[in-house]
Amino acid sequence: MSEAASTASQPTVERWRDERAVRNISTRPGLIYAIVAAGTLALWEGAASLTIPILLPPPGDVARAFWKGISDGSLFTHIGASYFRILLGWAIGCALAVPFAILAGRVPLVRLVLDPYIEFFRFIPPIAFITLFMIWLGLGELSKVSLIVYTAFFTTFLNTMAGAMSVEKERIRAAQCLGATRLQVFFKVIVPATIPYIVTGIRLALGLAFMTVVAAEFIAAEAGIGFLIFNSRLFAQTDNVFVGIITLGLMGFTANWLLKVILSRIAYRYDVKL
């Protein structure tokens, strides 16, 4: 989007926070995360000592299983397979959803046509379609990625459409009074006004993509975290199940963090809370 002309190089606008906020412990998330992690490990160790490893393996066993997966490279294969499906499907789904959703939000006829479908499909979790997708698209990557495309598309679509519908009338009128054509109103008012909703949509979609990929990999896959978990279950390798679950959490954490870093570039301008 082309921004308005700046007449001089832009100085840093000073922004402040409360003195109490600086001293407050909640401004030091790293410290809090470390304490929570240590506490969890201690609780886990304690709980594991009360039962047998096949029900709840102690942290040490899981760490060894982790190391095994890392040293023979199999864990990275699984991570790579799952990340590939998630990120590809998510990116395609979001990219498709945004333009259609803004259009649906702004053109009543388009919305009316789509409305029955949306109201119908919104109650069906994407994983309900796994079997169909596999019958139609085969057992390979296509069906799994397509399922994630669908998941990401639907969530991003709903949020973006809500955003496009709620653009204030005054903003559109103001742009018209300033000489904006219909096309300019669309790209310079509707789209930027919808960005906070798009951000919400794609972040929710990322989370749902993680859920969907595991379910899809349970059903049919030769690699992936879902496959790792399901396969380990068959051989009663509870420690490997834990490896899968923890890896998944770390993968989600990383992906979300990366997305936040990327979005933080536009967050202030569009007043998006990350």
Partner: protein, 261 residues
Amino acid sequence: MTSAVDLLAVGKRYEPLHAGASAYEAIEDFNLRIAEGEFFCLLGPTGCGKSTVMNMVAGFELPTSGSVLAFGKEVRGPSSERGMVFQSDIALFPWLTVEQNVAFGPNVRGLEKNEIARIVDENVELVGLHKHRWKFPRELSGGMKQRVQIARALANDATILMMDEPFAALDAQTRRRMQEELARIWSVKHRTVLFITHDIGEAITLGDRIGVMTRGPRSKLKEVVRVELPRPRLNMTPGFVDLYNSLEQTIGAESEAMLNE
């Protein structure tokens, strides 16, 4: 003198939402002529249709009878010829800085970059926001946000400026300051202004003429008075007070009739 705005026997009728209900005649037989360069204040009780009149001049709504002319040409939709300052600051673009908001009009009209920069400088300076030009609207006070709206409308060189209760949401002191500011800006940039307000003092401070509307439905102009007081106009001078009282009586009669209906 050329007339900038002409409303000729204008009527606005809203069709009922449900079959069987009756239509609402908001405005009926509304006649008004605003001369070029004139500051016209439209005064009336809440719900009398002031905003409907303005929406028709702006081109957001079209009259159901009669015609609305801007410099002799029929108004068919919004245009950069007719700038607008809205009551609410949500009309600003919150993702653009002060200067980017002001540059919006010149930008969409495809002016040259240097020209845009010059226009932005001039108007940001005129409303006294040069120190805040890199801020986003949410970082400004209510009064400053309305200044941005004024600068944004002025930057477009509109021949007619419409203001829909622009200071109604401000506190009393800020409103006073803004009225003085607007009077000063208007003395620099002599534009035709259609200013809507329900504040009698504001109308007397700013207007060349004041039109009082009757209550709705079927609102029309009840009377138009010329303000003969010298500028800048001070609140408590005898002429001011007399005019205030007489206008208050006119509007009071409308409000009372509305309550008794």
